[in-house]
């Protein structure tokens, strides 16, 4: 059917927007508390695992001589990757004036921040002498000792801290007008909280003008930042001399993979929010379709980069890389490898079908599969190189212990917990921007009536209320 339906009902009353979104924030239902409990339990697993590892040492994670790294780094990369979607949606689409982003970018940005906060934990977890973690930071020491600025791990520290603060600011600034709305419509501790957070926003033209410029500037900085962050993460591998790691295409490959898994995660959360908070009017099918198409495009880019990596290895004919590639596809890790290929490169073709794109349950499954594929991709980047490297005497295959997997498992709980808190404390749909959206759309549709946003018809000669004196 070739009907150009609207992304959103433009006749929606602004008051309704406020009430809908505010409703999503108050008195959580039982299911919410169940979810919180589950997440807490998962975090508990991780905490226990960390305790064991902290007391016994990294051996608890089954790490061994060739496998100095394993799931921790893979999961780290996974979460970093997931964080890229928020930036993509809000910053890039903002610059592109793609206003369909407006109903959904808020939770995407939140996702960015929280997955960063999750990712940030893993370099810490994977350090065996955690208590000396701060040695990675360049602080002035009377011993004239600094971190080694040549190490990609130090670059990580810089990049991630920058990215985290920048994306948090971006999220926060974008939220100020909505916080003002919350302030005006709540009571009690929430009122106090929002009064502080909204920084006294009153929507004056001066504020709006600066706001517009600031938001633009932030967007401009965030995009190159996001790209640089994942390039630097890829440097952890690309800067080494190990076969399968020392790959020139890694930075774009990682960035593409990041956007990919990010979009998949957005779809997942999109569907969940739409379902649980009944945001059908804001997170509409057309928007979902657009996201899905975007995801499909990125999936193809990722697949392409994958293929040229294989190709360059194959025709480059470097013994070590080639044998590694063959081992990946046929060795003990084969099942991981092929799951990654199927989930990452085959499943996305489902998104080519409108019926799939519009069928939420299917989309949910698909998005989960995509993320599984991306998780395995990270695993396939880290583990096989370590198993199979230059020195044949040290070849070995290793499967992580319960401790290691417990930590990975728990990270999802941690992320979920942060997100659950967020949706109840902050508006997960940007109210003012939805208003802008409908306003501008109707305006551009040329309705004269557009400009009456309120339904209250008041008589003009009614005597105005007078305050003060």
């Amino acid at each position: 059917m070739i009907v150009n339906e609207k992304d959103i009902n433009e006749q929606i009353k602004w008051a309704k927007i406020n009430t809908d979104v505010l409703r999503s924030m108050d008195n959580p239902r039982k299911s919410y508390w169940v979810a919180v409990a589950v997440c807490l339990a998962m975090v508990g697993c991780a905490a226990l695992a960390e305790y064991i590892q902290y007391t016994t040492g990294m051996g608890a994670a089954n790490l061994n001589n060739p496998h100095m790294w394993d799931m921790y780094i893979a999961t780290f990369v996974f979460w970093i990757g997931m964080s890229h979607s928020g930036t993509l949606l809000s910053a890039i689409l903002h610059l592109l004036h793609a206003d369909w982003r407006k109903p959904i970018y808020r939770f995407a940005e939140a996702m960015t921040t929280f997955s960063l906060m999750t990712a940030g934990l893993f370099p810490i977890i994977h350090l065996c002498r955690v208590w000396n973690m701060y040695w990675v930071l360049p602080y002035v020491s009377d011993r004239g000792i600094w971190p080694n600025f040549r190490s990609p791990l130090v670059w990580d520290a810089f990049a991630i801290s920058t990215y985290l603060s920048a994306s948090m600011l971006f999220l926060f600034i974008g939220m100020i007008p909505d916080l003002a709305i919350c302030r005006d419509n709540t009571t009690g501790w929430r009122k106090k909280l929002y009064t502080v957070l909204s920084l006294g926003w009153e929507g004056s033209d001066r504020q709006w003008r600066n706001f517009r410029k600031v938001y633009l500037l932030m967007a401009c900085f965030l995009i190159p930042l996001a790209v640089s962050v994942h390039s630097i993460v890829s440097a952890d591998f690309a800067m080494s001399i190990m076969p399968g790691w020392h790959v020139t295409t890694f930075p774009p490959y990682f960035v593409a993979g990041a956007l990919y898994s990010g979009c998949a995660a957005i779809i997942t959360l999109f569907i969940m929010l739409r379902y649980f908070f009944r945001f059908d009017e804001y997170m509409t099918l057309p928007i979902m379709e657009k996201v899905a198409k975007l995801t499909f495009a990125i999936a193809m880019v990722w697949t392409y980069l994958n293929l040229i990596e294989f190709a360059s290895v194959w025709y480059g004919h470097d013994m070590y890389n080639k044998e590694l590639l063959i081992a990946k596809a046929s060795g003990p890790y084969a099942w991981v490898f092929w799951t990654m290929i199927v989930c990452g490169s085959v499943v996305p073709f489902a998104l080519a079908f409108r019926s799939v794109r519009r069928h939420m349950p299917t989309m949910f499954v698909v998005s989960i599969l995509l993320n599984l594929g991306m998780f395995f991709e990270r695993w396939m980047i880290v583990a096989p190189t370590l198993s199979l490297s230059y020195e044949p005497w040290q070849w070995d295959v290793m499967w992580g212990s319960i401790v290691e997997w417990g930590m990975v498992f728990g990270s999802f709980g941690w992320f979920g917990l942060l997100f659950l808190v967020f949706v109840k404390v902050f508006p997960s749909v940007s109210m003012y921007e939805v208003k802008e959206m409908v306003y501008h759309r109707r305006k551009s549709a040329g309705e004269r009536d557009v400009l009456r946003m309120t339904d209250r018809a008041k008589s003009v000669n009614q005597t105005p209320s007078v305050e003060g004196a």
Binding site: P66, D142, R143, G144, I145, M319, E323, Y390, E391, P392, W393, Q394, W395, D396
Partner: protein
Amino acid sequence: MSINRRNFLKMMGWSGAGAALAGCDMPTTVTLEEGREEVVSYLAPEEYVIPGVGVWYASTCTQCAAGCGIHGRVREGRVLKLEGNPDSPINKGKLCMMGQAGVQGHYNPDRITQPMLRKGGDLHAVGWDEALTLLNEKLGGVKDDRFAWFTGSLSGHQRVMVDNHLEAMGSRHHFVHEVVNNAVSRRVYAEMFADETPRLRIDKAKMVLSLGADFMGVSESPLLYSGDYTRFRTGETRGLLVQVEPKMSLTGGSADLWLPINPGTEGVLALGIANLLLNKLKMSDAGIPGEVRRLIDSYDVNRVARHTGVAGDRIQRVAALLQERAPSLVLVGPAVEGHVHGHASVAAAMMLNHILGNVGKTVEAGRRLPFAQLQAKSGNTADLLAFADLAARDQLDAVIFYGSNPAFTAPASLGLGEALGHIDFKVAIAQFPDETAMAADLVLPVNSYLEDWGTQVAAYQGDMAALQLQQPLMEQLHPQTRGFGDIVLALLKQRRSDEYGRFEDYYGYLRNAFANMPAAIKGGASDEAFWNAALQVGVVDVPAETASLHSQVVNFADPVTEGSGSQALTLIPSPRMGLWDGRHANLPWLQEAPDQISKVVWDAWAEMHPETAAALGIGQGDLIRISSDQGSIEVRVTLLKGVNRGSIAVPLGQGHSDYGRYAKGLGANPLKILSPLVEAETGEMAMYATRVDAKRVAGPDQFGLVKMGGSDTQAGRRLVVTVPVEQLKRSRGA
């Protein structure tokens, strides 16, 4: 500015208050108490390494019978590290893994620290006085031949003491037992060269044909031979090593040509080669008795090839090379001796040395000390048999065990456990709670060799005859232990107080012995000077007396084997450099050091040729049951091409039921299932003749067989590059 200590401190000073603070947490080396350090270094590890001043004392290693000289690094009254003693004619400053691990025997957490007496079934700690009084009264009641000493190889003044004690007791029974021995060869050497311990000059040979002789691994003097080997390989013309053995030994790993051979057919091979040398290559058969000549002629290449499983052209090539690469040297190892006809096989092999005219060239007269009573008594297995027999016939009332662990090494067929029961009073002078000590009635804790006095005389001397001094490198670790010499002295004092009463302790005895040495040895030095010199160098150069070699071939039997029994495989209980015969199984370093060839670690295992295993449906890591007519053991399999197809090799050393935390309960002991076969001529145990069956019991399991190394091949890497000898020759020119 470059970073040396001075600049470093300058920088510290420059960083103001930091330096002041730094004073109190200047990095220090580890303190033993906590075993680690907490301070943050200045990123210059060398800077805070403050090496302590170690003092080096010379002594002698007793980890095996070779008698290598050692230097012990002593610091703060503790011996930390052993190195070879450069003045020793045997190891010339080198030290093998077992010697290195000596300190772990000394500091072993499972040492016996108390005299223990069996009361009501189990052992209880007692005081020395009680122990000695009891010992004396027990021995007092024993009549002459019903008393016996059972020891490992023994030499020097300890041997003198033991001999004197036996004499005092009026007994003739001194059983000297070693699983790793070359008793049969010694017999043959004596017969053919008139020298039990000829100096086999590998370094002088241009080619060595080694019939199962693991001379760099398990032999009478591994380090002496290793030194020879170095010269053998690096000489003008690089020596050629051909190794023929049923299971690849450490030495076999370095062979230019390694040939697997059916167990027990080495003698046949030797005869075949002799046949070729005499008939084909026209070498003189002078000095070869008629019967032997006929025996030789009966072994044409084809017959030999059939018996040995070595290809005929190989045999011909080896024969040709032996003639061409004179002087050559033919060696034999335990795998040749350990058969019913072992003597014949060894004789056949030694005959090759005769034919090739190696005697006098690469087979030299061994150097020997002029004092017979100090000579090493080298162990064998015949004594074990004799002992078991006597014990079983209830001919023994009291036995003192020292430096040997028969309860572990004796095959089940001997029924030693039951036989020991017949001995009323068993005394173990032991350092560790090994199987024998645990079976004894009285256990006397002895000093480790690093805290004991003594003298050692290597059975197999190097380029000079040396009397080697063994001195304490540190104070006794445990107050209750005593030196072996002191214990025997105490026993002797009881019997011969007139003679020995004057010696306060064994040290005094040794001082006296050294003082009484002939002036020729002392070289005119005063007693004091002589003694100090001995202490300092650790080696006393004694003018050697050498036998005059003659080379004659004696008659020997036909060394052909008829496969006995229905069993499919021959069991090879192979000793290994490391755990040796099992005496070092309680040293963690040696347990953690993988086997040199199979690279399996921390366990006993069976080595099978992949094809043999496949035929029996056995795979890598499987658990199999190896059963002989005497019982069975269960071990895991590792597939190895370095094993003859008809054989299955199980390393010695594991399978201890006692012997401390590191040894206990690991693997299995192949000696237990040996068939009661005996070498015809010498009465030695035929250790390599047992036939066994192998059956798969269970599949692999993660911690079953721990093998080092992820790949047995270099996977195309340029790791170990092998080049033909011609290239070496060319580059020599350059």
